[in-house]
Amino acid sequence: MMNRFPTVLAVLVTGAAFLLPGSGISAQEAGEDLTFHRDILPIFQQNCQACHQAGAIAPMELMTYDQVRRYGRILRNRVSERLMPPWHLNPHLGVQEFKNDRSLTEEEIGTIVSWVDAGMPEGNPADAPPPVDWPTGEDWQSAPVLGEPDLVIYTKPFDVPAEGNDLWWRPRVPTGLTEDRYVRATEVLPSFPDGRGVTHHMLVTAVQEQSVGGLLTEWALGKTGEIYQEGTGKLLEAGSEIQFETHYYPNGTPVPQDRVALGIWLYPEDYVPEFPTRLRFFNIAPEGVLAIEPHSKPIYQRQFVMQNPVRIQSFQAHFHLRGKGASMEAIYPNGRTEVLSQIDDFQFNWHNNYIYADDAAPLLPAGTVLKFSMWYDNTEDNPNNPHPGDFVTWGDRAADEMGHFWIGVTDLNEEQYERLVREREAITEGASAGASTAPGGD
C-alpha cells in the first residue's frame, strides 16, 4: 500500500505547473526562432537524458520531440524553478565550480522557457545532433574516466518486499585485500533495474585497524561516485571489511535477493598519496535535540573550528521529508564571513553530493570556523511533507527527521596549505578570483 517514491515524484512533476512564474529570462521574440531539434535536444542530451530514458530512474522519457512536448509546460516550470535537473544549490551564493555539476545555465533555462512559451516548435529533424550512446544503469558512472573498478564488493542478498516501511540491511563483507592500498575513487551501484528504485541510500564504513576518519563513502539516491584529486586518497587496509548499511524503501515492486555493489578504484601498489582525506560527519540536529513542532519551520545551527588548515572537497546535506535548506559558511580568522555553499530547496529524493572542482575546492586557514545551518518545513507549504500536523523527532524513518552534513575534508599542514594557496593564486592570476576559491581572509 505504501509506495512513496511515486507519490513524491508525482508531486515533483505535477506541482503547480501553471501557477509559478517564469524565470524572468523568457523572451517571446527569441522563442519564435527556437526549435526542438536544433536548440532544445542538445540541452536535454547534455543534462536530462541520462535519467529520462527507458529503464532509467526518471518517471518519464525525454528522448523524442513527442515525449518532451507532452510534458512541456511541466518541464518549463521545473527548470525555471531549478528543481530539475536535480541540482539544488543557490546559483548566486558560494562556490559555483563543481566536478559533477549537472545544473542548467541561465541561458539554457531561458532557451527552454522561451521555446515552451513559443508553442514548442519541432523544427527540422535534420538539425538534431546525433543520438547519445548512453550507458545502462548497470554501468559504473566513473568507468569512462577511470575504467572498470579494481575492486567490486557486493552486499549479501536481501529480499526487498513490494510494500511496507523503510528497511535497513547491514551486512559486513571482507574486502579480500591482502595488502594496504589507497583508494582513488568509489561508487555505489544498486542492482539494475529493480534495485535502483528501492535503494535510498547506503553508508559504507571500512572496518580496519586504522580508521579512515569517517566513512569510506556515503551514497544516496541521485548521487554520483567520489573521485579524489590526484595525490588525495583513503587508506584501505589488508584484511579490512566493509560494513554496509543499506536503506531500502519499498516501491511496489518486490526485489528478491537484491545486492548493491561497491566499486573501488585503487592507486597503484606502494603509492602513498600526499593528502589522506576523509568524509566528515557534522551533526547539526542530533538525536535527543531535534524537535520539530507541528506546522513549524525551525532552524538548527552548529559551528566547528578547524584547528589546522583544510581543503573542503565536497558538500552534502542529509535530511528527510521535512528538510528544506542547508548552508555551510566560513568565518575566517580575520572575521570575514563567506557562504561556501547553500541548498535552497532540498529534495528528499536527491541527496546530491556537490564535489568542488579541483581549482575551486575551498582552502581554509587554521582557525576558520565552519558554520552550518539547516532549516525545516513541517507545514503544508512543503509538498513532500507526509504529515504537517505531527510532532517530529529524530529517527531513521523518512517520516522522522535528521539533520547533518557529510563534508569531504582534507587536512593540511601549514606548508601544504601555503603551497596550495600559491598554486591557486597562480591559476586565478589575471582573473577576478572569486573570494570563495581564494585562501580565506588573510
Binding site: M1, M2, R4, F158, P161, G164, N165, D166, L167, W168, W169, R170, L203, V207, Q210, S211, G213, L215, Q243, E245, H247, R278, R280, F281, N283, I284, A285, P286, E287, G288, V289, A291, E293, P294, Y300, Q301, R302, F304, V305, Q307, N308, L321, P333, G367, V369, P386, H387, G389, D390, F391, V392, T393, G395, D396, R397, A398, A399, D400, D411, N413
Partner: protein, 344 residues
C-alpha cells in the same frame, strides 16, 4: 524511570566535558600536532559522534539502544570505556575540529509542554488497523503529569482511551495504541491532545503514507517483539497493542507484579516497569528485570504512597537488541498494563 537515560546522560555529560576540555586547553589555532596525534584525536571524535549518531557507528551493536531497552552492565562498561578514553586523550591532545556552538544548548530542564507523537499504523488480521502513539516531553529533567480530561484527551470517542497521564522526560516511543475499524478511511483521524502550561498539542494519527510500521517484524534484522503474558492463563501478547489486567493493594504495601516474557527466536529479553498513571509516587523494587535464556518469569514489587487509581506500564524487549537496531522502526517490543486500585 527511563532505563536508557542514566547511561545516556553520563555519555552526553562526558562529551560535553570533552568539548570543554578541548576548547579550554586548545583555543583556536593555538596548537599544531604531529599527524599521528591528530589521527588519534579524530578517532576519538568519531567515537564520540558514534555515541550520538547510529549512522556513524563502526559496531552497530554498541549503540543500539532506545528508551525501550536498557543497556546491560557490559554495554555500559563499553560506553564508559569509550568515554573515558576520549576524556583522557582529549586532556592531552588537541582536536582537529571543535564544536563551538552546541545545539544541546537549546534544551531546557523544566517548564515546557508535552506533545503526543504519532508513531504509525499497521493492519490487523481481522481487517482493523492499529494506530500507535508516543509522546515527547520537551523537558530534559521534569516529569510531567497531565490527568485525563480536557488537557489530555483522545478524540473522536471517549476522552479516555488508555493514554498515559505520567510523562517521563523526553521521548516515549509507542506506548499506547488505538484500534480503528476496517472502514477507517484514508482521511479519517484519531487525535490525541495534550496541554500543559498553555502549550497545547493536538496530534492526529491515521492511515498516512510513510507512517505504516512493521510493528510485528523488522525483516532487515529478522527481529520480532517478544511474547508477554500478563496473568496466569492470559493471552500471549506481541507488539504495541498490549493486554490489560487489574489488581488492588493498600498504601505502603508492596504489590508483587509477575509477568512472563520470552523471545520465540532464542534471544534474551528484559522487562521494564513504569508508572503510567496515578495520583502518587510508585516505587519499584526493580524497574528492570533481565531474563536469561530458559527463564520466563519476571517479578518485581511496586509500592504506592497515595490512594487512588494507578496504571503500571510493563514493557518487554530483547536485552541486547532494540528499536535502534531495527532502524527505529516501531518494533520490536511488547506492551502490557496493570490497573491498580490503591486504598488506604
Amino acid at each position: 524511570m527511563d532505563p536508557a537515560r542514566p547511561h545516556r546522560t553520563v555519555l552526553l555529560s562526558c562529551l560535553a566535558r570533552c568539548h570543554e576540555f578541548r576548547i579550554g586547553l586548545h583555543p583556536s589555532g593555538a596548537d599544531r600536532l604531529a599527524p599521528r596525534r591528530v589521527g588519534r584525536l579524530r578517532q576519538v571524535e568519531i567515537l564520540a559522534e558514534q555515541a550520538l549518531h547510529p549512522h556513524y557507528r563502526l559496531n552497530p551493536e554498541r549503540f543500539n539502544r532506545k528508551k525501550n531497552t536498557a543497556p546491560g552492565d557490559a554495554t555500559l562498561k563499553r560506553r564508559l570505556t569509550i568515554c573515558g578514553i576520549a576524556a583522557v586523550l582529549l586532556l592531552g591532545l588537541a582536536p582537529g575540529a571543535d564544536a563551538q556552538y552546541d545545539p544541546r544548548a537549546r534544551l531546557q530542564p523544566q517548564g515546557l509542554g508535552v506533545s503526543p507523537t504519532f508513531e504509525g499504523w499497521y493492519p490487523n488480521p481481522d481487517g482493523t488497523y492499529t494506530l500507535s502513539f508516543g509522546y515527547f516531553n520537551k523537558n530534559t529533567d521534569e516529569v510531567v503529569t497531565i490527568p485525563v480530561g480536557e488537557s489530555n484527551s483522545v478524540s473522536p470517542g471517549p476522552t479516555d482511551q488508555g493514554q498515559p497521564t505520567y510523562f517521563d522526560a523526553r521521548r516515549g516511543y509507542g506506548i499506547f495504541t488505538v484500534v480503528v475499524p476496517a472502514d477507517f478511511g484514508p482521511d479519517d483521524r484519531v487525535t490525541w491532545t495534550l496541554e500543559r502550561n498553555g502549550e497545547r498539542y493536538s496530534i492526529p494519527g491515521g492511515l498516512l503514507d510513510s507512517y505504516q510500521t512493521a510493528n510485528l517484524h523488522a525483516p532487515a534484522i529478522d527481529m520480532y517483539p517478544p511474547v508477554l503474558v500478563m496473568r496466569d492463563g492470559g493471552p500471549e501478547v506481541r507488539g504495541a497493542a498490549g493486554d490489560w489486567t487489574e489488581t488492588a493493594v493498600r498504601v505502603g504495601e508492596p504489590l508483587e507484579l509477575t509477568v512472563d516474557a520470552w523471545d520465540e527466536h532464542g534471544h534474551e529479553v528484559s522487562v521494564w516497569f513504569y508508572k503510567y498513571r496515578g495520583p502518587g509516587a510508585v516505587a519499584f523494587a526493580a524497574d528492570e528485570v533481565d531474563l536469561e535464556l530458559g527463564h520466563r518469569t519476571a517479578t518485581t514489587t511496586a509500592t504506592f504512597d497515595t490512594p487512588g487509581e494507578y496504571v503500571v506500564y510493563v514493557r518487554t524487549g530483547q536485552t541486547e537488541r532494540g528499536v535502534r537496531e531495527a532502524g527505529l522502526e516501531q518494533c520490536c517490543w511488547s506492551n502490557g498494563y496493570v490497573t491498580v486500585t490503591v486504598t488506604q
